[in-house]
């Protein structure tokens, strides 16, 4: 049995809690609850014939990532950076958080999730900067916690990265 801590990182209301709920409970709610402090969920899955238990730390989203405690990230085996496709600013926050995390705990597997694909008509993300990130080796995935699109795949991909980097 392998246990890995996974941190959800992203600006507030990008859909971190929703993504975790979708992945763990296969459920989605339009209700927005501010996550206070940290919420921990767990999901077990099989990766490459081994049992992996993902302990998902859903850190409450804040624009001011300085306030994120180092202990939240410590020991993390992987990170899901989340940005809200309908709010361009959230991508910047995600990039900042990524830097912050790297400074704190070094290189660990991560994915960038562009959430809310169901609202793609309202998207305002700059395609050019995304392409640049992908060129730099970033794994950028599109998800919709609301409709479930790409959610499971994203978590499983991260799981695989953590077990066999």
């Amino acid at each position: 049995m392998i246990r890995k801590k996974v941190c959800m990182l992203g600006a507030f209301a990008v859909g971190k809690t929703s993504l975790v709920a979708r992945f763990v409970d296969r459920m989605y709610s339009d209700r927005y609850e501010t996550t206070v402090g940290v919420r921990i969920r767990k999901k077990s899955l099989e990766v490459a014939g081994r049992e992996l238990s993902m302990v998902l730390w859903d850190i409450h989203g804040e624009d001011d990532f300085q306030s994120i405690k180092s202990s939240y990230l410590r020991g993390a085996g992987g990170v899901l950076l989340v940005a809200d496709g309908t709010r361009a600013g959230t991508l910047d926050t995600a990039l900042g958080l990524r830097q912050f995390a790297q400074d704190l705990i070094g290189e660990i597997p991560f994915l960038l999730l562009l959430n809310k694909t169901d609202l793609v008509a309202q998207w305002e993300l700059d395609k050019g900067s995304l392409a640049k990130l992908e060129e730099a080796g970033w794994r950028v995935r599109r998800t919709s916690a609301k409709e479930g699109e790409g959610v499971e795949e994203a978590f499983v991909e991260l799981a695989a990265l953590m077990v066999e980097p």
Partner: protein, 568 residues
């Protein structure tokens, strides 16, 4: 060689001077070389590599001699440690963690033990807030104070033990007490991690004051920390101090054994499976007993002794009583003429009741003789009845019809057997009574002689020998004929005995041929028979029937033939 004037020959001064002179002569040229060499050596910088080569051996050698080396090195090492701690305390802490714990615990365990003892006493004897609140609770709930203490302080149980890696608060291993239902240990581990960090960061406490003890109602989390992992126990009830010690020991052992796995941990929990036995050892469950006060102990001990003595007495009584009871029942049940219908113990006494044949033994006597039960302790009514058991029948018969000394009544093979000799009247009475008493009874009289019948038979035999010879041609005998008297006596005896024996008697008067063959004169028999009959009639009680047989008309003798028919 000249002598110095102020010196005595053989004095020390003289000897020393002479030795110097001798040295000068012998090694004068080399002496200069030696002092040159010394200058070279002393001015030389010592080569570090050369020292390094000899240093370990040198230290070893020196240590063997005295403590001066240690004394010399101590300040330096102390300074080095201080510097190390200032730079990064965890380096040193990590290194000595497995050793530190036992040493510290040892030194504090004694003072701690004394303190705990004192605390127990306080709780026991004085009005501490806790004791007071327990007393209040006792008053409120109507329970005894002791019961409350028992509930509150005697029991604890470690329900779960978590081994958690400090990096990321990831659960490494987890054990649960048998009946406990564990709820998502991985989550709990992470929560604990969060809680831990939260407290750590919020209150900027040092490593040593970090989260140790969290209470949720009556559930307590005991947390002990190591450099790489923490060990958490969930405890229901009041955990003893020793639990933390046990946990610390366990955590140290795990750090010692798994140092590499802990340091290189990347999520694989497999290597920690082997820590399960250690964790299981932390699943303590205990009834802690508060120290009872010494007087209480004494009272308790004497109460125990008294209780035991009472118990022994009681057990003895019970056994005794049981025994008497068994004996009483057995005696009453086996006694002929008694039918036990009720037997019970009541108010310390006994009640026995049933049916009692008037001829049976008194139950009270029986109980006293057979079971040692005082008649004063016995109550119960005995209804009279007639038992039909052979013994009772026999004794009842014997009571009603006492046997003469010549006869005997016994019970054998299901028959009532009469033997010996007895009067007819007794026999008849016995038969009647026996029948009346038993309803149906087989009588064996084959060995019994009816005395009356016997006498009748004897009389009859006597009578039959008394044939009367009439003088030829005579129809009568003289009234004073001497042969008449015995004949009449025998007849009287016959009648009397036969009457007693209830035997019917028929006496036939017959003519008998005389031995000399003289034929009787025809026609004389009847007058002769009538003559004899009239004589017999005169003495007869009327019991016997006298019959004159017409057909026997030969001979001059008239004889009497007796037929006795014993009663049915």
């Amino acid at each position: 060689m000249s002598m110095e004037p102020d010196s005595e020959p053989g004095s020390p001064e003289l000897a020393a001077r002479e030795l110097d002179r001798l040295k000068e002569l012998l090694i004068g040229p080399e002496k200069a070389e030696i002092s040159e060499l010394r200058q070279v050596v002393e001015g030389q910088e010592i080569e570090p590599r050369a020292v390094g080569a000899v240093l370990p051996d040198a230290i070893l050698l020196r240590q063997g001699e005295d403590d001066r080396l240690a004394d010399a090195l101590a300040p330096t090492i102390e300074a080095a440690i201080q510097t190390s701690v200032q730079r990064d305390p965890s380096t040193l802490a990590n290194a000595i963690f497995p050793l530190m714990g036992p040493a510290i615990r040892k030194s504090i365990s004694q003072s701690l033990a004394a303190m705990v003892e004192g605390l127990n006493r306080t709780v026991e004897y004085s009005f501490t807030p806790r004791g007071l609140s327990w007393r209040l609770e006792a008053l409120r709930t109507g329970r005894s104070f002791g019961e409350i203490v028992l509930l509150k302080s005697l029991v604890f149980r470690v329900e779960e033990v978590f081994l958690i890696h400090r990096e990321g608060a990831i659960l490494l291993e987890h054990v649960v007490a048998p009946t406990v239902v564990s709820r998502d240990p991985e989550m709990i581990a992470s929560m604990l991690g969060v809680l831990h960090d939260y407290i750590h960061e919020s209150f900027t406490v040092g490593e040593e004051q970090a989260l140790e003890h969290v209470e949720f109602g009556d559930l307590v989390l005991e947390v002990v920390r190591g450099p790489k992992a923490i060990l958490v126990a969930t405890v229901r009830g009041t955990a003893p101090r020793s639990l933390r010690e046990r946990m610390l020991e366990t955590l140290e052992e795990i750090h010692a054994e798994k140092s590499r796995d802990l340091a290189n941990f990347e999520g694989d929990t497999m290597p920690f499976v082997t820590t399960r036995p250690l964790l299981f050892d932390c699943l303590e469950e205990e009834r802690r007993e508060t120290k009872p006060n010494p007087m209480g102990k004494l009272i308790l001990a004497s109460a125990c002794v008294v209780a035991m003595v009472l118990l022994v007495i009681y057990a003895f009584n019970v056994v005794n009583r049981r025994d008497r009871w068994r004996k009483a029942i057995a005696a009453l049940e086996s006694e002929p003429g008694l039918v036990l219908t009720t037997a019970r113990e009541e108010d310390g006494g006994y009640v026995f009741a049933g049916l009692r044949d008037p001829l049976a033994r008194d139950p009270l006597d029986l109980l006293q003789a057979e079971a040692g039960i005082d008649p004063a302790n016995v109550s119960g009514e005995w209804e009279p009845y007639h038992a039909l058991t052979p013994e009772m029948v026999l004794s009842r018969i014997q009571g009603l019809v006492p046997a003469p000394s010549t006869a005997e009544v016994s019970w054998a093979d299901g028959r009532l057997t009469l033997s010996g000799r007895a009067r007819h009247a007794w026999i008849v009475a016995l038969r009647t009574v026996a029948l009346a008493v038993s309803g149906e009874l087989e009588l064996d009289e084959s060995a019994l002689v009816d005395i009356d019948l016997e006498q009748a038979q004897a009389a009859a035999a006597r009578l039959e020998t008394q044939a009367l010879r009439f003088p030829p041609g005579e129809g009568r005998l003289a009234a004073d004929d001497p042969r008449l008297r015995p004949l009449l006596d025998a007849f009287r005896d016959l009648e009397r005995a036969a009457r007693q024996a209830e035997a019917r008697v028929r006496v036939d008067l017959v003519a008998v041929q005389t031995e000399d063959g003289t034929a009787s004169v025809p026609g004389l028999f009847l007058p002769r028979a009538e003559f004899l009959r009239s004589l017999l009639d005169q003495v007869s009680s009327g019991w016997a029937r006298l019959v004159v047989s017409e057909e026997s008309r030969v001979g001059d003798e008239v004889a009497l033939r007796v037929r006795l028919d014993p009663a049915e």
